[in-house]
Symmetry: C2
Subunit: 423 residues, 2 copies
Amino acid sequence: MAELEDTRDMLGRAGLITVARALQILLNHLNVVPLKSETVPLNEAFDRILSNSVISPEDLPASARSTMDGFAVRAADTFGASQSMPCYLNITGEVKMGSEPIMKVEKGCCFKIPTGGLLPPGADSVVMFEHTVPVDDTMIEIVKGSGTGTNLVQRGEDIIQNSEALPAGHLLRPQDLGLLAGLGIAEVTVANTISVGIVSTGDEIIPYTEAPQPGQIRNINSITLAGMIRRAGGRYIDYGIVSDQREIFFPALKKAVEENDIVLFSGGSSVGVRDLGEEAVEALGPPGAFVHGVALKPSKPILMGLSGTTPVFGLPGHPVSALVCFDLFIKPAIHKLSGRSCSNEIPQPALPAILVRNINSAPGRRDIVRVKLEFENGTWAAHPIMGKSGSISTLSRAHGYFFIDEESQGISEETVVEVYLYQ
Amino acid sequence: MAELEDTRDMLGRAGLITVARALQILLNHLNVVPLKSETVPLNEAFDRILSNSVISPEDLPASARSTMDGFAVRAADTFGASQSMPCYLNITGEVKMGSEPIMKVEKGCCFKIPTGGLLPPGADSVVMFEHTVPVDDTMIEIVKGSGTGTNLVQRGEDIIQNSEALPAGHLLRPQDLGLLAGLGIAEVTVANTISVGIVSTGDEIIPYTEAPQPGQIRNINSITLAGMIRRAGGRYIDYGIVSDQREIFFPALKKAVEENDIVLFSGGSSVGVRDLGEEAVEALGPPGAFVHGVALKPSKPILMGLSGTTPVFGLPGHPVSALVCFDLFIKPAIHKLSGRSCSNEIPQPALPAILVRNINSAPGRRDIVRVKLEFENGTWAAHPIMGKSGSISTLSRAHGYFFIDEESQGISEETVVEVYLYQ
């Protein structure tokens, strides 16, 4: 077990830390978590993460192939051929798709060959149809000379045997499945789908399927988090709404930790409930909580800890905060636990947009500012959504967000901001 | 049945048309296809498309709530209060989360209230804790005056009853599920998941699970297309590899048309197989083929038709071409058939990158140029992947593509190109 990094100050007070520092501490702690993997058939491997690199078992293509419809020739026979000085070759065979040419192309001869056809013995080049003129069924006129290797793909030109086809940690996209199918790899070892347990707490929260009494509010976070978990490549178990009394909440959280790779709980954002979360994470056993708040708006009161090797996140109750925490911390944790290497991935580009009003920010804090985008005068305008973070409708009205860094005290209107789009 | 637009010239020859024209003709033909929908529970609606707009059944919030921990007051009682001239209020009650305050806040009095607590009768403002100093259990000192409506979210401020919460055609993302849960909407009517049939043809093609004989190649397209269909929100039925003999291929295609909303077949790119595809689409009955090739590289020989109301696509055999056709035509067709409105979606931004070499292009044709991106000297460099379009490895090596428009004869090195990333 790695030593827990301590984010408390000399007096034992849990202080706020920056987003970057919180992420670093989180990912460091996830190094202690063993990766689990399973072997699945290729046609069930879509969007999974390779556990090991895949080494090509063979040369591809296994033999030289034509890349054109035309005639397989000995290049030397066509040397210098042109419109005004054509050469003539005898058609002594034909390559069929899907079968191996046995006969040899002799000097002065050629075989008809389709795109993808195997190069017959003796031939070292292909003349495309467009550079030939038929004389009769047995002879062809070549009006353009063809060099050795022209219109061919050579053995191993695509992939050489024993080379790395895909690295460990690679996300299997459709085109990667195609590559593996081409190599005849019918099953792959992939990271287990990360299971995330969701526990909601708060005595005012009711299932969204029920009618609220005055003062009660429907559970929004569980279904929102479930969707985000699926989008990040995980699966989820929803433990429903659990009373925030110790004797009910603590055992429920313990059960979720036992049954999942990651546990999220979201509760009221009031101080009492937050303290209960801290207490619950400590009660789960060592190492315990290691992040007690982040200099971030919204989402300051996020709590992170580890019970054994299982990361546990306490999320602020507001749905907007839950979404911010998910993007910044939980998605990277899911990727890390599944061994996903994002190092060879290109970051999604942001959309430059012109901010339409001044936004202030406290220095030392990162602000996530949600925006609605409008296309105005040939450019994108970013309209900040100023709704309270408990507002449900702003969740789905926002097209994306930009952030104001810790060093900044705000951004002036007319500045170009980089907007990250919500998927 | 809408009249088919004809893309043949006056002599009945099927000519090449531009990408934009082909897409326009395709989408026009899909207007004749009836939308199918089903009603599902909200927790199964992730990533589905709303068939109808959702109207809010209630005001949200249903009553005014506090957005701060503090004291519910009558604003007039705090008028002018400051550090040097505080006012004093009697604490005569406390609002509990999840329950409705019955007692009234009288003049000169206040109630303790948590974030999210319902505003009690009589109060019209909340003073946050930070602007108070406790005197004793029954009295509080207010050091900053609070205006009417301060630190409150008003009834209906988030969403007003009978307003549109989400429009028809909206893709249900995690945050949208949260919004609907907040409104107590427990089931939604969504478009049926579009079913796409995949038929592979070509006598040289074998399943990727089998060992190829010389001249045979493994089936790459079916598994690649299957992944792309899933990513576009569809599901698929794989009809395997079908001989390209009329008496086998035609009935197989007919069965796929009967069982799916869209049918793709991919075959050899040789002229003979392409003609067979044209013939097969005509044999499926009217209206028949309406696009007989597009001025596009790669993917020129793409074929599009309609059998009754079912769109049928004949794709070039090369996997790279299949991917290009999918992005340009089949994905928009899937979205259109499911009623997905992309009009309120922001297009994914492209990544600007510096082209590292000259690329030529024929005017009148759109070229799709795949690139590998490298971060060099603080900027992205786009390295064109020049592999033959039959190459499997270039499929997964490319990070994305840029395109050269019909008007252009090529792009010079050092030009900034807009790279669309492969997901």
